[in-house]
């Protein structure tokens, strides 16, 4: 049983390491996902954020604009995750006779 556990561990680890080798080199400007425009000439989402973050929300920190405005839905989910963690701790750990 222990051998099987190690086999699964190394298999999954190997797949993850293989996945890392397939990532594009960091800072490679010619790679498709790092380009400002797609091959068809459309604007990539990150290019849109960089060009329009200040115009859309008058906020110099574009990370904040992406976090709370463009990707507000995602941040709402993150807040709910934190809240759920607190709720789970409350339900599991708090000792109270009902």
């Amino acid at each position: 049983m222990k051998a099987l556990r190690f086999l699964i561990l190394f298999a999954v680890g190997g797949v993850l390491l293989w996945g890392v080798t397939q990532l594009p080199p960091r800072g490679d400007a010619d790679h498709p996902i790092h380009r400002a425009r797609t091959g068809a000439g459309d604007t990539v989402a990150s290019t849109y954020y960089i060009e329009n973050a200040y115009k859309d929300a008058e906020t110099p920190n574009m990370v904040t604009v992406v976090l709370a405005d463009y990707r507000g839905y995602d941040t709402l989910g993150e807040t709910v995750v934190v809240f759920t963690a607190g709720l789970a701790c409350y339900l599991i750990l708090r000792r109270r006779r009902i």
Binding site: D56, E58, P60, T64, L76, T79, F83, A85, L93, R95
Partner: protein, 145 residues
């Protein structure tokens, strides 16, 4: 249950540091538009300042700073501020979380988005702060209830 430290240096030092950390936390929350920071980071700092007093001076004095009973209700208020902003925008004819559709936030749509981001960050900060403190309280609760 964490017992109160007997050393006056520890409790005095923690009580002196706590307001300074809180001030910096509010700076991080309010300055999220201009520098790295925002609700999550500022909330974590605020929670750290509250937990510091609880660790050094015990639960009784910690409760004077932030009462344990407020923990879980306030963290749902934080999450509700965020979701409520989205739902208000939805009710006023926009999309969910489309701050530009909320006239209460200011004049032109650009400024409304700016204020909407601030409102949402405040909700995040409240939820994160209170959740961290309430997890700490749950972990250290005495066995005899």
């Amino acid at each position: 249950m964490i017992v109160k430290s007997s050393s006056p240096i520890v409790s005095l030092g923690a009580r002196t540091l706590s307001p300074v950390i809180q001030l910096y936390a509010f700076y991080v929350i309010a300055h999220g538009h201009y520098s790295p920071g925002g609700g999550f980071q500022g909330g974590a700092l605020l929670a750290a300042s509250i937990i510091l007093v609880r660790l050094s001076s015990g639960q009784r004095i910690g409760d004077m700073q932030f009462n344990k009973a407020l923990g879980t209700p306030l963290s749902s208020v934080g999450a509700l501020i965020y979701a409520g902003t989205g739902i208000v925008a939805l009710l006023l004819g926009g999309n969910f979380l489309q701050y530009a559709e909320i006239p209460l936030l200011g004049g032109d749509p650009v400024m409304r988005r700016n204020m909407g981001i601030l409102l949402v960050e405040l909700g995040v900060a409240l939820a994160v702060t209170v959740t961290f403190v309430s997890i700490y309280d749950d972990l250290t609760e005495p066995d005899d209830d």
